[in-house]
Symmetry: C2
Subunit: 280 residues, 2 copies
């Protein structure tokens, strides 16, 4: 598997790199950004996957979240995958921001025309650890995952579906119950078909009830988030975690919205939280 | 003077605001971004001006420099002006990135067609402190300035031209000798005419020789900066400061380039440095 370095910047005494590589999972060329902290040159470091939200590429979080500083503080490698397959051959819904390119929802689609390339679950969970981590300096096999909005959904869902793979999970303003909100129902119907029983495999609130989670979960949510009551509804996940006996720290922040200003403000807490749990 | 709030985000327990206002100095509508730290709600805070480089608006530094966190740490108000006048009525050189809109060079132009609107010196030094600071919560009259590239040039030049106004100055990869480098000579010729004696008033290396500076200066420079030997030439400022007896801390960072990844990596040091000097 070939990783082509398409850009590379010195950053907080480590390196922010952007790779392009052919992906077997998605059947297209993918870009993925990686931050390697200064510690990675000499010692084993865990890998934290950050999944971005609707309309994003790796670039939003890499340029705006301020995560590199904290990764350098704690000796964490950060991996920023794209949010969907890309390229002219990939199906799209160009009039919609919440379906198609930029909106892969971190699942393996079963419905046409999406099933051919929209395999972001396979890509993030199986392909990237298998092919990317061996070429990173001193990735040590420990792994955790976090994300924002659709990426928060992805982080929660992929962690609960793969508890042996990830030691910790957290999220910013996640879509916690896609089966019960408008943009989730539309996406799940398109990608997985109109039988809601298929949706439960990619619904964090359903998954925590059916599978639980082996540790605690951190979620930050802005109270001024425009999607709070329509598309996010953290109270649904709070109730599901309580029912499942999974310890959830849900912090509601007055005045904060859905933007990267919100994410940047609390990134330090998240990466410290991951570092503590990855060291255990 | 009316400041219209065009956007506002909660950020590190303070507020990142973007204002639009009619400017008398530039004769057009200007946008300016302001970060007010949590301390500003209850106590007097100094104001740090950040001047951006070629092609930028307020947005580049506000979204990518990670400065808000350190401003919140130290209780600093940050002001991010635009890099030129804007609007359809404003002269431009659309085929050039280093002249016209996005390239005001923080001077008061004397040559047509630039003299009518290109008065960024007047705007940053006289207008903004006079009209913006009174509407900010508890700006306390202490003031310092920093910037990047063309904005580093602006910070050094405006500080040395106005030592009573600014208590401290620092720069990332500044254009320190515009009279001696290609993009500087082209801009100074266009804005100020072809007599090089007029350029000395906006050339940091000439100014530190003629006026000196009352305190120390911090400059960070990446060794992998593509503009290092063509457009920046920090050794010219180093020699001028040595000659003038002005203490310069010039840090050369191996592997760092001209990007915001470089700026973000050292922003903590700069704002700590400003906070220490503003408290004196």
């Amino acid at each position: 598997m070939t990783f082509e370095t398409i850009n590379r910047w010195r950053c907080f005494d480590g390196w922010q790199t952007v790779y392009a590589h052919p992906s077997e999972a998605t059947g297209c060329r993918m870009e993925v950004a990686v931050y390697t902290p200064p510690q990675a040159e000499t010692q084993a470091c865990p890998v934290v996957y950050y999944l971005s939200g609707l309309t994003c590429t790796w670039e939003n979080a890499v340029t705006k979240a301020g995560a590199q500083r904290y990764a350098a503080d704690h000796g964490l490698i950060l991996v920023f995958p794209d949010t969907s397959p890309r390229g002219d051959a990939v199906a799209d819904a160009p009039d919609r921001y919440d379906l198609g390119k930029g909106a892969g929802f971190y699942l393996d689609a079963t419905q046409d025309p999406w099933a051919e390339h929209y395999r972001m679950d396979d890509y993030v969970v199986r392909e990237l650890p298998a092919v990317l981590e061996p070429v990173l300096p001193t990735a040590d096999g420990r792994r955790s995952i976090l994300g924002h909005s659709m990426g928060g959904h992805g982080a929660l869902v992929l962690a609960m579906r793969n508890p042996d793979l990830y030691q910790a999970v957290s999220a910013f303003a996640p879509i916690v119950a896609p089966s019960q909100v408008d943009w989730g129902r539309k996406a799940l119907t398109a990608y997985l078909g109109d039988d809601p029983t298929a949706w439960a495999a990619y619904d964090a609130s359903a998954l925590v009830r059916s599978r639980g989670w082996k540790a605690d979960i951190l979620v930050d949510q802005g109270e001024a988030d425009a999607f709070l009551t329509s598309g996010l509804r953290p109270e649904l996940f709070e109730a599901a975690c309580a029912e499942a006996g999974v310890p959830l720290t849900l912090r509601r922040h007055v005045g904060y919205d859905h933007s990267y200003y919100f994410i940047a403000s609390f990134m330090a807490d998240h990466l410290r939280w991951h570092a503590e749990r990855l060291r255990r």
